[in-house]
């Protein structure tokens, strides 16, 4: 699978959310999208997932425009994980995860497997409105796992903001495994440490434009990121010898 984003611009009335964005990715990669607040991360991800039509340019998966795909085709190729999953009905967590199979046909084994991977199998009969924010984020990931077709595209918009350290690590492992299956995984993240852990490549947005792009280690440096976010950053080394970007 190949994702190609060419000259994409998105405007909301007089506000330009994205301008002239170019990017491409092949299967097997995890790509982190970073940037300050209101830099256009969510708009870019929604456009890539076919949930937002671009005002200019195009997004293609294997040469097919994503916003021209039928709902069924899009669901079979692209899974979406929102920042906050919203469910308006009185559903159990299991039912919410089952909805990932809406267009593709029911599969109890896929649903059970996905629930198990995010540690929600034993809580799957709990009602959605009783679930914590972290459980909801894990359920949203499980829904994407139940929906995904290996070799497809998984788009995640700040999927880890409510996760504890254990489940953050689990999510990182699951996303890396999806990439090993040939998926393209694109995630907007605020946790730079988590981005360094899981991402092969990084896109950094500022004011609707990509200002940095490339291999994670090359892009995530104190000088480059510090300039984008307007803060001083430096490297710190932990006991295991790993380097982290921290504020001095």
């Amino acid at each position: 699978m190949r994702l190609h984003v060419s000259d994409v611009g998105v405007r909301f009335g007089k506000i330009t959310a994205l301008r002239s964005v170019h990017a491409s990715a092949d299967g097997g990669k995890v790509i982190a999208v970073l940037g300050p607040n209101a830099s256009g991360k969510t708009t870019l991800l929604r456009t890539i997932a076919g949930l937002q039509s671009p005002s200019s340019g195009k997004v293609e998966l294997d040469g097919i425009r994503v916003n021209a795909m039928s709902p069924h085709d899009r669901a079979s190729k692209i899974s979406w994980v929102p920042r906050i999953a919203e469910v308006a009905g009185s559903f159990t967590i299991r039912r919410v995860v089952e909805l990932g199979r809406f267009a593709l046909g029911p599969s109890q084994s896929r649903v059970d497997d996905a629930l198990s991977k995010v540690d929600l199998l034993d809580r799957s009969e709990s009602l959605w409105h009783t679930a914590s924010a972290g459980m909801r984020q894990r359920a949203a990931l499980a829904r994407a796992l139940a929906q995904r077709t290996p070799g497809g595209l998984i788009v995640l918009d700040e999927p880890s903001s409510a996760l504890d350290l254990h489940h953050l690590q689990t999510m990182g492992d699951l996303l890396r495994n999806c990439a090993l299956d040939g998926d393209i995984v694109i995630a907007a993240l605020h946790d730079i440490g988590f981005a360094m852990e899981i991402a092969d490549e990084v896109l950094v947005l500022k004011e609707g434009q990509i200002v940095l792009a490339g291999q994670t280690k090359a892009v995530l440096t104190p000088s480059s990121l510090g300039g984008v976010f307007g803060v001083d950053l430096t490297w710190a080394t932990d006991e295991s010898g790993k380097q982290h970007l921290v504020t001095p």
């Binding site: 899009r74 999953a85 009905g89 009185s90 559903f91 159990t92 809406f102 267009a103």
Partner: protein, 326 residues
Amino acid sequence: MRARAIFVIFLLSILLAASATLRMLITRDVDGSITLVFPEEQYFLYRIVPLVAALIVGAGLGVSGMGLQVLLRNPLASPWILGLSSGAGLGVMSNLYFDYTYGMSFIGSQSIAAVIGAIVALSLVYVLSRRRGGIDPMTMVLVGVVISVLCGAGIMILQHAVPMGLRGAFTTWLMGSLPEVESWGKLSILGGITLIGIVIIAWWGPTLDAACLSDDEATSVGVDLPGIRRKLFITSSVLAAIGVILAGPIAFVGLIAPHGARLLLSGSHRILTITSALCGALLLICADDIRQLVDLGSGRLPIGIVTSVFGGVVFLVLLLRGRGRI
């Protein structure tokens, strides 16, 4: 879950049969006393017709309310609160007015006017409630109330424009009442359309489940949101309009029935459609039972007053709880 669903449907059916039997048996004697006797042959039709009408109107309003709550992602949505009933009422009243003044009416014109009125009212509410591409639930309720008031004003203007003798009939109609005399042909057609509408919405159940996710999530799992919203919009409006054609503007049944159904069962909208229909029919027949039992000295109350008193309290509770879920 399936066993619970079967049990709930069975229980509601038993309660429905019991309340319907009660409706057939309640007899108010000349001295005001209440007895339970099977009606004599000449009164049988006057009992069975409003019962059948209550079944059609209640089931239709219950399912219409459920559809609107999913369509608008708003637990406070109902045909009455969103102005559908008033819009349909204005349609019916306009038809009556033009029929009286200019002799402009034809077979089915009242029904067509009600459906058009309902769809126009809901369209206005939908368009005027949009904010930055989304729909704000509270704005929608407020806009619905405003549209309802405007339609009510239109109805009053028409009421004012007809001769004094007709005004009483207009007022009675506005309170909402089940017909005691109605042709079986009309009941069959409207009942048939209601049944088809309910079956269609139940058929869409899994899609409605997925449509309860946020717009982005629903689209990403493969729901054609604009398509299902358009279809639900029309079907809910038709079901609400049928209620208005048969019984006038009946308040709150479309709001309470889906909430009652959700209290009994959570989850699938396929089952919820059936339980909302049963709850709606049960509510209206119980309200009719109460109506038969209460006489304030000026005759029996119109059924719309009974549903308004009961429904108003429930609506207030839902509003104050402020966390009603669809």
